[in-house]
């Protein structure tokens, strides 16, 4: 008998006669319904308060945020951020069609290369699938338009997000993912602040293995 059969047999033997007894119909129904559990009140705010909470929670975990009124302001916002932090005006850009709408020529000194993340990259710029207000979290899906290495290899990760991508609770992001029809991505990353470690004497340090800085540029002007 294979280990698989032995393990499944041992599980069934252990559950034999227990209440509640295993119920295949219930399991199917539950998987199909994927019902939400309790969503905390802070995850159910209206639009303006939701964006404010998203920013407050993000800043609470050392993410920095710039809000711009129009997509045309994004290049200058990013160039300004890099200059303020003495970072090179060079970045690896996600090959994401949504980022092509940004008029990058408005920041002529910003040198952009498209592709996946490499060890030498110091700055990456990506989009994201959603922002989640309850904990200031960014949800990033892997795919040809968004190599996961961009989220984790460079020291500085800049994320461009439209205000209408910000949802209250994780569950709304899961629903949007299901509704997008793209199936299960290889990787869904929930990113909440830059990388950190408290493993040396419980002293919190930023930039353990992943980014030392996470910067969000939120575009407020969203036309339906």
């Amino acid at each position: 008998m294979s280990s698989r059969e032995r393990i499944l047999g041992a599980i069934r033997a252990g559950l034999e006669g227990r209440d509640p007894w295993r119920d295949p119909a219930l399991v199917e129904a539950r998987l199909k319904a994927h019902a939400r559990g309790l969503i905390p009140a802070r995850g159910r705010l209206d639009s303006a308060a939701r964006i404010d909470l998203f920013i407050a929670m993000a800043e609470d975990v050392s993410t920095t945020v710039t809000r711009v009124g129009d997509v045309a302001e994004v290049p200058a916002a990013i160039a300004g951020y890099l200059a303020d932090h003495n970072l090179p005006a060079e970045a690896k850009l996600a090959p994401d069609p949504a980022l092509d709408d940004i008029p990058w020529h408005r920041a002529p000194l910003l040198e952009l290369t498209k592709g996946k993340g490499e060890d030498a990259d110091r700055v990456s710029i990506t989009g994201a699938f959603a922002g989640i207000a309850e904990t200031g979290t960014v949800m990033a899906l892997s795919g040809p338009h968004h190599p996961t290495t961009l989220n984790i290899l460079p020291e500085t990760h800049v994320v461009v997000l439209r205000a209408d991508q910000i949802v209250g609770a994780y569950e709304e992001a899961w629903d949007r993912l299901r509704a997008s029809g793209r199936g299960t991505p290889r990787t869904v990353m929930l990113i909440t602040g830059p990388s950190r470690s408290g493993d040396i004497e419980q002293t919190l340090q930023l930039g353990a293995h992943g980014p030392k800085r996470l910067h969000l540029v939120i575009i407020d002007d969203v036309r339906p």
């Binding site: 280990s3 698989r4 032995r6 393990i7 499944l8 041992a10 599980i11 252990g14 559950l15 034999e16 227990r18 509640p20 295993r22 119920d23 295949p24 399991v27 539950r30 998987l31 994927h34 019902a35 939400r36 559990g37 309790l38 905390p40 975990v61 592709g115 996946k116 060890d119 200031g136 892997s142 795919g143 040809p144 190599p147 996961t148 290495t149 984790i152 290899l153 994780y170 569950e171 899961w174 299960t184 991505p185 290889r186 990353m189 929930l190 990113i191 909440t192 602040g193 830059p194 990388s195 470690s197 408290g198 493993d199 040396i200 004497e201 419980q202 340090q205 353990a208 293995h209 992943g210």
Partner: protein
């Protein structure tokens, strides 16, 4: 790994006398417990979420075979493979075979308690494959050749001076000759050394906090981002996880995630929570090409239907360790193996046998804090009591303890004798206590009185006072 669980008493004595350890444990108490309290206060729904999280796990356990089969089917759908392993030896062999098939010489690992449980590193090393731990704490204890002393903060017993010594000793080979003694510089050095290892590795091994039956994803939770680098850069991603990690849906994983980080480190959410399903998809520029889940039983299926089934709800947050007065006094290494604190006191006898683990269920004051802070409501004190009963039945306790219990049970069954004894004892202890009403030394109780005074009774026994009051 050498198991020192049977030497618990000797380990505890040494730990109490270890000043470096005692300082570290002081910090743990003030750090994690305080931050957890604050996080729970910030979320009014915390208790209700814990109730839901617990109900999810109970539902899964009652249908465990069904959810595991669904998870397996979904992993296969995404191009991955599931390897069912009945015990530690089979899991070690399976991981080794997968590493060999990938032609691996070097593997990176993100922290996994299951890997510790099956002693994976020793096995890989013995067969010519170099495992590199990437979680900073786990990396530190790998250099020190020690087991983890805490399930979420494996190097919590190390001071930064010890870390500096270890790095100075082990990093010279990479050209790092300057000894740093501040935490930031140590972290930066580890970052650089390990960054090279991520690129060198042929296989990345991670654990999993959850296995999602709905879509075959595995979930890792880290603050450092090391699980992501470990799995994304090499061509092969091996996940090792135990059976009870499965949850039905993304929503279920979300509910439990809401209580996990808050219970563990007092964070609202850990920095990185990553759902990974299968290998690289068409058009992807990065990610592993093959994806394997090694599913470990190692005695867990035999806990179903027993008084220890509820232990399978454990999500390894470490809250019970952080709030345990015994763990806080002696630290994790005293428990002699992989799991420590109250969850270790229940799980270790199950995994290594009650003979070797006999002392652990007795290392408790039954204060009940562990059960109170457990987000999954696991009745840890009750389970420790079950182990103690088994020990008594199997004659595993030392003779003095058995005699003591026999004596106690005789008095408990003879109330008149009990009343007589307590009357006399209360008066003698009052006399010894004298005017200060504290007892600093008592024959046979030096283990207690060496560390603190015993408060003396006030002349009469409780039953005498009760009888007087009734009149």
């Amino acid at each position: 790994m050498h198991i020192t669980t049977p030497e618990f008493s000797a380990n505890a004595k040494a730990a109490l006398a270890d000043e470096e350890l005692q300082q570290a444990l002081d910090k743990l108490r003030s750090g994690f417990t305080e931050r957890r309290r604050a996080a729970v206060e910030r979320l009014p729904e915390f208790d209700a979420l814990c109730d839901q999280a617990r109900a999810i796990k109970d539902h899964v356990l009652a249908n465990l075979d069904l959810y595991l089969m669904r998870f397996e089917a979904k992993v296969i759908e995404t191009g991955g493979q599931v390897h069912w392993c009945a015990d530690a030896a089979e899991a070690r062999q399976t991981v080794l075979a997968l590493c060999r098939a990938a032609g691996a010489r070097c593997v990176t690992k993100s922290k996994s308690m299951i890997a510790e449980e099956i002693a994976l590193n020793d096995h890989l090393e013995a067969h010519g494959i170099t495992p590199i731990e990437t979680d900073l704490g786990e990396y530190i204890i790998q250099l020190a050749d020690e087991p983890p002393s805490h399930i979420i903060a494996p190097a919590v017993h190390k001071t930064k001076e010890s870390v500096a010594d270890l790095f100075a000793e082990h990093h010279a080979q990479y050209g790092y000759t300057k000894r740093h003694d501040d935490a930031a510089a140590l972290l930066e050095e580890a970052r650089q050394v390990l960054r090279a290892k991520y690129f060198e590795a042929d296989v990345g091994i991670t654990g999993a906090n959850f296995l999602v039956a709905e879509n075959g994803a595995i979930v890792t939770v880290t603050n450092e981002g090391n699980a992501e680098l470990t799995q994304i850069l090499p061509d092969t991603h091996i996940v090792i996880a135990s059976l009870e990690k499965v949850v039905p849906t993304l929503e279920d994983a979300t509910t439990i995630l809401r209580v996990l980080a808050r219970s563990a480190t007092g964070q609202e959410f850990s920095s990185y929570t990553t759902f990974s399903a299968g290998g690289r998809r068409p058009g992807d520029l990065d990610g592993p090409r093959s994806f394997h889940v090694v599913l470990l039983d190692n005695g867990r299926s035999s806990m179903l239907g027993t008084e220890f089934q509820d232990m399978l709800r454990c999500i390894r947050c470490g809250a019970c360790l952080n709030h345990c007065p015994i763990y806080g006094a002696v630290g994790g290494h005293t428990y002699g193996w992989v799991y420590s604190g109250p969850m270790g006191a229940v799980l270790t006898p199950q995994l290594i046998g009650i003979e070797a683990g006999a002392d652990l269920p007795n290392a408790s004051t039954f204060c009940g804090r562990c059960e109170e802070v457990c987000p999954m409501g696991i009745p840890l004190p009750k389970m420790m009591r079950s182990w103690r009963e088994r020990e008594f039945e199997q004659h595993l306790q030392a003779t003095p303890r058995r005699l003591g219990l026999a004596l106690w049970s005789w008095f408990a069954r003879h109330p008149a004798a009990y009343r007589g004894l307590t009357r006399v004892a209360a008066r003698i202890l009052t006399l010894i206590g004298g005017r200060s009403a504290r007892i600093g030394w008592l024959p046979g109780a030096s283990g207690w009185t060496a560390g603190r005074d015993l408060p003396a009774p006030e002349g009469r026994s409780f039953q005498e006072l009760w009888a007087a009051k009734k009149r």
